[in-house]
């Protein structure tokens, strides 16, 4: 009997994920100590893990690696997505310290779950095999389902958790069946080998149905219309810090994985999915923006706004080539900064015994706390896409990529939608600056960590808005390995 040959184990490309998951384990252990340690210490360990992963990611820049027979592909594309994810998760942890102190249970498992889901997101962006993609997606999602229902005595939170779980699991089953059919059509789950096996048989019915089911699953995860119904309820019901993570990290990871699958494995079916995503992008933008106009709850408003932003990003996926996915990566970076910041301001505001989430709570905010009002104002203006903030440059690259690829009408729909979106974002700004507070408005309790997180986000959107070229070039270069 021949001894089993051990496959080579490459730890290097795994290092960023291992650091995050190691920190998660450490947080769990610290939480179990007989003498309870302070929550601040646990949060600091979690933050250190994320910053360590960020540094490990940056250290690997330009040195692409593969591990476990190409199951994990840590190329520049994955590294760029990892930077966005780690950054968003680190902001969320910093904002959580204060927020949980006021609203939450005295436990460390919150931070462990944030880290586990962050690890899942990083794996998702680096998955080179559909099975790893499925596992990473589940690691991310299962942690997020629990996080959404963290305040388990609140009806809204458990309701959000249940909706998120049932619809998320439903979507995952579609994704899994799609993977099974693609495996049936090509005999492999490896993305590169699928591309080779699928070449020239783009109209194999198994492959087409598999692609469709895969897109349904991804559509749920990135909350594109018509699979967006869970997003507003979950965003509203979940703790605000968790909402920030769902809106930034999980969306960035799912979009990165979607781009990798479409551009590498299913590039032969490009005409098929481009047409489909054209329609989805147009409807997603329009529905998100139109429904957002009617919202009075700020978390819900931001949920519909995030649906609209997914529509913008799908423009870049449709545009394809190297410009399209590159523009999406850059947009993800600006979007993570902006959205994490906007939700960050929300976590810092509170009403008596409750969160301040109604637009009316923010009336006259500028007078009571000019700095935070200005911060929220800038984040909202960046979401509108007003120069010189990051949101403008991100949209500019997306629409430019669409026009260059010949999708003029899609770009026009995008621009019209951006104009439409200005209304509801600016309404909040008007409330903050031009209305008198009705009764006791939102009280503000910024802490050091929360303030620091907002400052980083603000510097980010201004920096990306003023000197976007180096970052956009990095994003373009990061897409190159996918297109070979």
């Amino acid at each position: 009997m021949t001894p089993l040959a051990m496959p080579p184990v490459a730890i290097g490309p795994l290092a960023p994920v291992l650091i995050v998951l190691g920190a998660a384990g450490l947080v769990l252990l610290l939480d179990l100590l007989p003498r309870p340690v302070g929550r601040e210490l646990i949060a600091t360990v979690a933050l250190a893990g994320l910053v360590g992963a960020l540094l490990a990611t940056l250290a690997r820049w330009g040195k692409p690696g593969r591990a476990f027979q190409d199951m994990l592909v840590l190329d520049d594309f994955a590294l760029f997505a990892n930077v966005v994810i780690c950054y968003a998760a680190a902001l969320v942890v910093m904002l959580s310290i204060d927020y949980l102190g006021r609203n939450g249970p005295e436990t460390g498992e919150y931070y462990a779950l944030v880290l586990f889901s962050t690890g899942g997101m990083m794996l998702l962006a680096a998955a080179g095999d559909l099975i790893v993609l499925f596992l990473a997606l589940e690691l991310m999602s299962l942690s997020l389902y629990v996080l959404a229902g963290l305040f388990k005595r609140e009806l809204a939170a458990s309701e959000a958790s249940m909706k998120y779980f049932i619809l998320g699991a439903f979507a995952t089953s579609f994704l899994l069946y799609g993977i099974a059919l693609i495996y049936g059509a090509t005999g492999t789950t490896n993305l590169d080998r699928i591309a080779a096996a699928a070449a020239g048989r783009a109209h194999d019915p198994l492959l087409v149905i598999g692609l469709g089911l895969l897109l349904v699953g991804f559509g749920f995860k990135i909350s594109s219309v018509p699979f967006h119904m869970w997003a507003p309820d979950v965003y509203q019901g979940a703790p605000t810090s968790v909402t920030a993570l769902i809106a930034t990290g999980s969306k960035a990871a799912a979009l990165a994985a979607l781009i990798r699958v479409l551009v590498t494995a299913l590039r032969g079916s490009q005409p098929d999915w481009a047409v489909l995503l054209w329609v989805v992008a147009a409807i997603t933008m329009t529905v998100g923006n139109v429904v957002a106009i009617a919202q009075s709850n700020l978390k819900r408003l931001l949920a519909y706004s995030s649906i609209a932003h997914v529509g913008y990003m799908l423009i870049g996926v449709v545009a394809g080539g190297s410009a399209g996915p590159g523009a999406v990566l850059f947009y993800l970076l600006t979007y993570a900064f902006t959205t994490a910041g906007a939700f960050g301001v929300l976590t810092l505001c509170e009403r008596a015994q409750a969160e301040a989430v109604e637009v009316g709570d923010y009336a006259g905010l500028a007078r009571r706390h000019p700095v935070l009002a200005a911060a929220l104002g800038l984040f909202l203006l960046s979401l509108v896409g007003i120069p010189p903030l990051a949101g403008f440059v991100g949209k500019f690259y997306l629409f430019a990529a669409a026009v260059r690829a010949g999708y003029l009408w899609l770009a026009v729909i995008g621009v019209v939608n951006s104009a439409l979106a200005a209304y509801y974002y600016l309404r909040v700004v008007v409330f903050m600056y031009m209305r008198e507070p009705e009764g006791a408005g939102a009280r503000l309790v910024p802490s050091f960590a929360g303030g620091l997180a907002l400052a980083i986000a603000l510097i980010g959107i201004v920096l990306l808005g003023v000197i976007p070229a180096p970052f956009a070039d990095l994003a373009q270069a990061a897409v190159a390995p996918l297109l070979r």
Binding site: I131, F134, L135, E138, L142, Y145, V146, G149, K152, R153, L155, A156, S158, E159, A160, S161, M162, K163, F165, I166, A169, F170, S173, F174, L176, Y177, I179, A180, L181, Y183, G184, G187, T188, T189, P232, D233, Q236, G237, V291, A294, R300
Partner: protein, 100 residues
Amino acid sequence: MVAESWYVALSAVLFSIGVVGVVVRRNPLVMFMSIELMLNAANLAFVAFGRRAGNADGQIAVFFVMAVAAAEVAVGLAIIVTVFRLRRRLSVDDLSLMRW
């Protein structure tokens, strides 16, 4: 000897039953069972396709899916129990605190 395509057809039928179950039923537990049915339909498809492709990838995928499904059961039942404790009733029609 039954051809693999019959197993694939059966898995498609099971998957459809699961989808219909999730859409039609109102009890979260039954919806959850339907979701499990969908996952197992995918498992059956994996095994059948794996036999046709002549490699072990499909069979191995099933192990991963079963492990993930078990984790999903743990999380899902916990969430359902939490909601039941707050509401004392179990129907998704009650989950209407937030809409539009």
